[in-house]
Symmetry: none
Subunit: 216 residues, 4 copies
DNA sequence: AATGAATGAGATTTCATTCAT
DNA sequence: CATGAATGAAATCTCATTCAT
């Protein structure tokens, strides 16, 4: 769950031509772009942090823009993995489905509050006007699958007679919106770290509202 | 209601030193910052669009950063004015309070989708990490008052026996979250213009969910 | 006749905003481009030699390419002035027209061997493939007028019964070609300075051949 | 006669270390240098076009500069071969020597207008100031032999009583100068392709002038 | 002999900011 | 008060060249 995973130890050590320079570049880029944004993160600084030379970056990625996109893509994939794991964990068959839904809400909020997600959001919102394709790329890779999976789960709960959901995708969006409803203020727009307890409470409040609206 | 009002003709003509230069600078800044973001909007370009020279900008605002903040402040004030007008319009005393709440939802969504609001959001999210004070400044001037006013209205509705709201501020946040739940996707993160009909439908769906959760 | 004229003393001294920076930039550019060619002459070096900062160059000329073109234009104008002066000096009315033609030949060769002309030629030949417009620009400003003027003179000499010239423009081209016939080798393609005596002799040999072909 | 002959199929196949890589490198270099000049032609691009890797180029030629020189040397040799063939074809013994001289003039002009010759000229003029040895190298390999051979032929014609030539080498230079007198303008400094007819006419005009000056 | 990967040095260009008028 | 002109600093990107394999 670390934002910038240290390069995993490779089994066989190459002394030269190490293709894991790509990894260290992407890690450095994720960190710098995440902290400073596309414009203020200089390729020089990324190279320095990655421990490679500038031309190495350019030979690998061709353009600062492309490096940015690949970096975002990785972050989105990582975020998506976390989110999907959370959703997959939702057991809709047991009688404790309410507790499970609360747990899911907490997980979703935790994911959204992760540094990875926050910086991803910052970067996308900041650059989406310059490159609108970013929006589609990300929603295809992260928000889309998340919503689909969540909608499916809610449909199951509905079929099981627990919820009364006519439009599962809408309900999914509302569930996410509700769990995050308090987080913008609590985190001061992603500026402040939110205490785990507060996050949990906010998540529960959101799920409660959702249940109030949809539980049979 | 135009986002960037053209400088109105001034009644008294000065030969020079017209204090409305400040206005045209702020207008130009709002437009450029809104389109390009803080980094990519160059002071040169703002000066050109404002029809003044660069040093004039610096003598008025001292720093690009300060100009940015003032520009954001203005946008926030303008947005707040619109939002408050919408909320003030909510009549909680009549029997048609449900329709009024639906209308309010629609207004809120419309405000949030306005170019002014969208670009404000973009700018803040993009720069808030560099200057966390932005967050407080904006929430004090725009989101805060909005939430207060909305919470007050909801409390009234609760007192009047229409809703069952224990925590009005939480409910206010949830109402806003619900009305916007579908907008992120519909507008492709603010990239696409959303048809007025779609926006209205999305707003109603949000208000409906809110009522399902809170209506007595 | 100096390639890089020192900035002429201006009558009124401005202490600041001296527009003669343009002059010193152009002078430095002419020298650097002349010595090193377009690619190897760096804007840094030109700025240093001109005693200005790099951005000053860019604010004056916008682009290295444009600076190059303006520099070439000036050199061409200067060369043209010299060449025209030489041709204007040809008196076709006197009985000593042969001597005058020899003198003209010498002047033309001297002009062509001037550092200004040599470096102009180098630069144009080197860059004309990248920017074919250079060719037309220069022939319109330098070679064209020269040929016209020379052709006119030869036509006069023909009318006066001294020469038998059917196509004056062709004859003009041939006269120039003949006077320069030996110079390519003598100057080792512009690498070596040619002794004034050798240049004069070569010029006379060319004019002699011209007279052998065209004198009545 | 193609300027850049495609590498001919090699008779003996080595698994690697094929010595015809040198050929393909030289061919690619000739083309790139000819089109872009020394500076703008990157070793990367040459390696790509040659279908080899950069280090291969360096192991063969050591330096971009040396590759350039070898490339020029080859072009000069090729040009010289063509020119000498043209001159060797001049039969000074027949009574049709005038026609033969006209034909020779046409051949010379054709050679000079060949892409090979034009790009050679461009490259030398562009780089001769940086490396003056280029001048001697080329005149030894191309212009020098050409002039010698041509001078010898003219001397023969003089001995045969057809011409009155005192200084055969001077006459040779003048003949070449005269045949090319119109080509600079016609070809717009090597920018434009000249129609074969125009080239022929220009060549004849030059030879005519030569004959007017030197024919007995 | 040949190569994929890496790099130090340097290219052009832009920007926020400040003088002197 | 407003400005044209100037600049230090830094941005992205390219290139000739060299290792280690």
């Amino acid at each position: 769950m670390s934002v910038v995973p240290t390069a995993v130890a490779e089994p066989e050590e190459h002394l030269y031509g190490r293709p894991d320079k790509r990894r260290s570049i992407l890690d450095a880029a994720a960190q710098m772009f995440g902290e400073l944004g596309f414009e203020r993160a200089s390729v020089d600084a990324i190279a320095l942090k990655a421990g490679v030379s500038k031309p190495t970056i350019y030979s690998h990625f061709g353009t600062k823009e492309r490096l940015f996109r690949e970096s975002l893509g990785e972050s989105a994939a990582r975020l998506n993995r976390d989110l999907m794991a959370a959703i997959d964990g939702l057991d809709v068959t047991t009688r404790t489905w309410r507790a499970a839904l609360h747990a899911l809400g907490e997980s979703l909020v935790a994911c959204h509050q992760s540094e990875c997600s926050q910086s991803l959001q910052r970067q996308i919102v900041a650059e989406v006007k310059r490159d609108p394709e970013l929006s589609t790329a990300i929603s295809e890779r992260a928000s889309g699958p998340l919503l689909d999976a969540l909608a499916t789960k809610l449909a199951r709960l509905s079929e099981a007679g627990h919820l009364r959901v006519k439009d599962p995708e809408l309900a999914a969006k509302q569930l996410i919106a509700l769990t995050n409803a308090e987080m913008v203020e609590l985190s001061a727009m992603g500026t402040r770290r939110v205490a785990a307890d507060d996050a949990r409470r906010a998540a529960r409040a959101g799920v409660d509202a959702f249940l109030a609206a949809y539980a049979r």
